[in-house]
Amino acid sequence: MDLFVQLTINGVIAGAIYALIALGFALIFGVTKFFNLAHGAVAVVGGYAAFFFLEHAGLGVLPAAALAVCVAGMVGFALHKTVFLPLRRRQATNLVLLIAALGLLTVIQALIAMFFGSQFHPLSQFAGAQEVYRIAGGAITLVQLIIIISALAVFGLLTLFLKKTKFGKAVKAIGDDEEVAQIVGINTHAIIGYVFFIGSAIAGLGGVLVGFDTGIEPTMGLSLLLKGIIAAIVGGVGSLSGAVLGAFLLGLAENLGIWHISGEWKDAIAFGILIFFLIWRPRGILPR
């Protein structure tokens, strides 16, 4: 029974991390309609930026994390400006954008490995000893609690922001039809730029939190990204609540799945779920 509780808690924690990646991914996909595979790299940038500010600039935990999130956002924005926007201006197909994004992911991960080395860095060494809470026979650390709370908070704030502001309406309009949105006077390129910043910052937050929970390594971008994409597709492509729902389902399925199967099969379980959904329910649980 204790094992079940612990696996459920682990599933929720994993789900919260996937949700942070999936939210940014779904937000960007909502306006650009292509699979931004570079999104995973942005999460790694967040994690390593935090590492840099903690280790080399000697900042405190909170300012370092906040700055790292901004850096991740700016990198996402820069990728949009330098690569995706020129390609989209030229009416490049989705496949071209996807391959360019794949190239960016490879480049960024390689750059980070060259500067910081490819070993594993736990960020928790900078935060001191952590409190451990016990819930119904399972254990959860403070960082893990913060992960769950921030995922839910980001989801809530983002939904509210998109619903209540003019910016949110513009995002929705671009998502429905970019050309028409442009015709009625929405500055689509600027809005999409901001969306890249926000989405990437959220992914960066995910990267930072993963760093404090377990640690960071250059290659984690791809696995984080893939889980985020699976979550977004399982939940319903382009829908924020779908992305969050999909993320928690995926986290729980992976962790409860290893109750009977050995832990190394986590990735295979996740992709099994993806293929299953792609075949039988390609629009996800909550289609937009």
């Binding site: 390609l87 197909t93 954008l97 794949l102 190239g103 490879t106 480049v107 099994g272």
Partner: protein, 292 residues
């Protein structure tokens, strides 16, 4: 000289991978990033049969090709339901699933430890046995395989079957209107490509004499994709050129005197950068006849 032979063997193996992937991606327009899975199947079947059971290389090669064909048929059936972005995503997922099988089926593949002690091919004619133990004789074998794959690819692309494939790439629906069951054509070329990749895998396993799962990760599929996109989609010569360029170019980094871990990352950086720059400035690659 040994070094040149080594580079030629590696280029030959990558060229086989490139030519076979080009049939799928360039000629038929199916953007698969699962090619490393079939490369791995060929390598693992050869490795297990050679190191574990002492089977003849050429028999192991045939069995590896057969298993790759069977798996490709299954994967191709799953993939035949998808288009464009979703095709990429699903093939990516399938590559990772096959990779986890290599990594976690410990009793068969020895998992992350890998399989050492894979022997070089041996030719037995009558009572006379001749081992291809020198790198030069192995180069001859590799080039022979590469030429066979090249001729097969040329034959396929110039046949009526090949013209149907290119028509699928341009307008699948129109072709369906004419009564072609495009699914079968896509499945057939996917299996053919996978079988060729298995040949490359068998050569790789026997040449390096050691394999572990990291050689068949998604990263390798991305590398193969950069080979054919650089060389040019839908051009068999282009795939060979791309293979040679992307194998030889990173070797130059060695002479600059970079430490090996930095050089390894530099290679990845080059592949990634090649993809990004090509997409921006020349989406059809160097000698491409088709742009995405």
């Amino acid at each position: 000289m040994e070094y040149v032979i080594h580079l030629s063997i590696v280029s030959g193996i990558v060229a086989i991978l490139g030519m076979s992937l080009n049939l799928i991606v360039g000629y038929t327009g199916l953007l698969s990033v699962a090619h490393a899975a079939f490369y791995g199947i060929g390598a693992y079947v050869t490795a297990i049969l050679l190191a574990g059971f002492g089977v003849n290389f050429f028999l192991a090669l045939l069995l590896g090709m057969a298993l790759a064909a069977a798996v490709a048929l299954l994967i191709g059936l799953v993939l035949s339901r998808f288009d464009d972005d979703y095709y990429v995503l699903a093939s990516l997922g399938l590559n990772i699933i096959i990779y986890s099988v290599f990594l976690n089926w410990n009793t068969l593949t020895r998992g992350p430890l890998g399989i050492p002690g894979i022997s070089r091919p041996e030719l037995g004619i009558g009572g006379y046995r001749f081992g291809l133990t020198s790198n030069f004789s192995f180069l001859v074998l590799t080039l022979l395989c590469a030429v066979l794959v090249y001729l097969a690819a040329r034959f396929i692309t110039r046949s009526s079957f090949g013209r149907v494939l290119m028509a699928i790439r341009e307008d699948e629906q129109a072709l369906q209107v004419f009564g072609y069951r495009t699914v079968y054509y896509k499945l057939a070329i996917f299996v053919i490509g996978a079988v060729m990749a298995a040949v490359a895998g068998a050569l790789f396993a026997s040449y390096i004499t050691f394999i572990d799962p990291t050689s068949f990760m998604l990263r390798e599929s991305i590398f193969m994709l950069s080979v054919i996109i650089l060389g040019g989609l839908a051009n068999t010569n282009g795939a060979v050129a791309g293979a040679v360029i992307l194998v030889v170019l990173p070797e130059l980094l060695r002479f600059v005197g970079l430490p090996s871990n930095i050089a390894a990352q530099m290679r990845l950086l080059l592949y990634g950068l090649a993809l990004v720059l090509l997409m921006i400035y020349r989406p059809q690659g160097l000698f491409g006849k088709y742009r995405l």
